[in-house]
Amino acid sequence: MLSLDNVSVNYGAIEALTGISLHVDKGEVVTLIGANGAGKTTTLRTITGLLQPRDGKISFEGEDIGGRPTHRLVAKGISMAPEGRGVFANLSVRENLQMGAYLKKDKRAIASEMERVFQMFPRLKERESQKAGTLSGGEQQMLAIGRALMSQPRLLLLDEPSLGLAPLVVHTIFEAIDEIKSKGTTILLVEQNAHAALKHSDRAYVLETGRIVMEGSSKQLAVDPRIKEAYLGE
């Protein structure tokens, strides 16, 4: 479904990604783990067209998508809940969700998609007309994910959805990820919380200073001694 082939990305003269290759197949949950500053966010921003690769090829459903503007990629079925949530604090919860469905024309379909989001996160329903800026961190993350689902994406990118959240909320978020997967949406999940990420994914890539250093099934990586030492703190 998605593949990156030898992709390199720079911030000015600084190279943030060095020839990374990865792929995500339909229906999978793939996780990208790595320490802070490894280049995880850069990878997702490049896939969504917010950053342009210096080199390499990115394709989505067989089509070269390098250089496409972000809004066109959303139209193609890629959606992202960005790092730091990026909710519109000045808009209500409902308006945030409506923006998620910006490209959808069918009002009925939008309403039923919003119902599904509210079923997944009842807290959002309670706060429907509140400004997103008044939500707690966990609620904002739910909103960021719900908003990303409003476009009914085929590929959902999640950038550290558990960052800074209380354990109970982290649990809610990962349950939601399982639920989204069970409905057939393909997910690329970026996490520092390697433990939970490996538990809730099919395959994993490990990123270190802009390079992919390991890949495999999540089950295998979870018991790999190197991963255990470096990322699981065991």
């Binding site: 917010l50 960005p82 910006y102 800026g133």
Partner: protein, 305 residues
């Protein structure tokens, strides 16, 4: 000397004009963090488009409501196109550069428009044709309101309400608010942010053009440099209200208009000469920047990260 009520009416009239122009400054700032110095010139362009439309379409011959409406709407459309062109060709290519670059570009665009008009049309003022049959009505026995003043109030209230509706009730308006809060998040929603920015320039420019045509009905002298001082005062109005804040722009515009009229009307009583008329706005700007940089209605916490 005019009565207090009369001063208030006159002040609100000019204030409504400042408010219409201030809305454009504040919308563009809200979305791009850019002070569009060419915005005052759009107000001038609007007045001139109205002037030429009046003659070309034969409305200059005599007052008519149809003529007035056509000229008003026509100049708003033309100015919207000019505003979009400025954004597309001057600001968009340099959007990613430092703010100083865009600021200097904005000043350059302003000078370009002014000098282009002076070169083509000459600097001498022209008399804008009267499209409204002027008439005065007595208020409270000791004050008067003219038809052109009523027109200015009515049109500016209507346009402000319309703008409020667009921004807060429509999808494109919600997208404008989204873009102004977080550009990248907005892109991730599938919003074509270039279109939204262009649309914002179109709205702001149309309002400035309306202000140009309306002013010309009240004070029918137009010239290619008329946008400089008025534009600066409207900018101050936007800062006073809290730049980026829509109701703030309206409030700021009205306050500047009233302050200016009162200086002319009552200033002498407290030793302020009437020649300080144009200085009032800038004195207010300095006070705002010193004591309340976020403006009257601007949020005290910085929303942007």
């Amino acid at each position: 000397m005019d009565t207090f009520v009369q001063q208030l009416i006159n002040g609100l009239t000019i204030g409504a004009i400042y408010a219409l122009i201030a809305l454009g400054y504040t919308m563009v700032y809200g979305i791009l963090r850019l002070i569009n110095f060419a915005h005052g010139d759009i107000y001038m362009v609007g007045a001139f488009v109205g002037y030429f439309l009046s003659f070309q379409l034969g409305f200059a011959a005599g007052p008519s409501l149809v003529g007035l409406s056509v000229v008003l709407v026509g100049s708003m459309i033309a100015a919207a196109l000019v505003g979009m062109a400025i954004e597309r060709f001057a600001y968009r290519p340099i959007r990613k550069y430092a703010r100083m670059t865009t600021l200097i570009t904005a000043i350059g665009v302003s000078l370009l428009i002014e000098n282009l008009f002076v070169a083509k049309l000459g600097a001498a003022p022209r008399a804008f044709p009267q499209l409204l049959r002027e008439q005065s009505y007595t208020l409270f026995g000791n004050a008067a309101i003219s038809k052109s003043q009523i027109l200015i109030f009515a049109v500016s209230v209507l346009l402000t309400l319309l703008l409020q509706w667009v921004i807060f009730k429509t999808k494109v308006g919600t997208a404008m608010r989204a873009v102004s809060f977080n550009l990248n998040s907005a892109k991730l929603m599938g919003i074509n942010t270039d279109f939204i920015i262009s649309f914002t320039f179109a709205l702001g420019s149309a309002l400035a053009a309306a202000a140009g045509v309306l002013t010309a009905q009240y004070n029918p002298q137009i010239d290619p440099l008329m946008g400089i001082i008025t534009g600066l005062k409207a900018f101050v109005a936007a800062v006073l209200g809290g730049i980026g804040n829509i109701p703030g722009a309206v409030l700021g515009g009205l306050l500047i208009g009233i302050a200016e009229t009162f200086v002319v009307g009552y200033g002498q009583n407290v030793g302020v000469p009437t020649t300080f008329r144009d200085a009032v706005a800038f004195a207010i700007l300095i006070l705002v920047l010193l004591f309340r940089p976020t403006g009257l209605l601007g949020s005290t916490v910085q929303e942007k990260v």
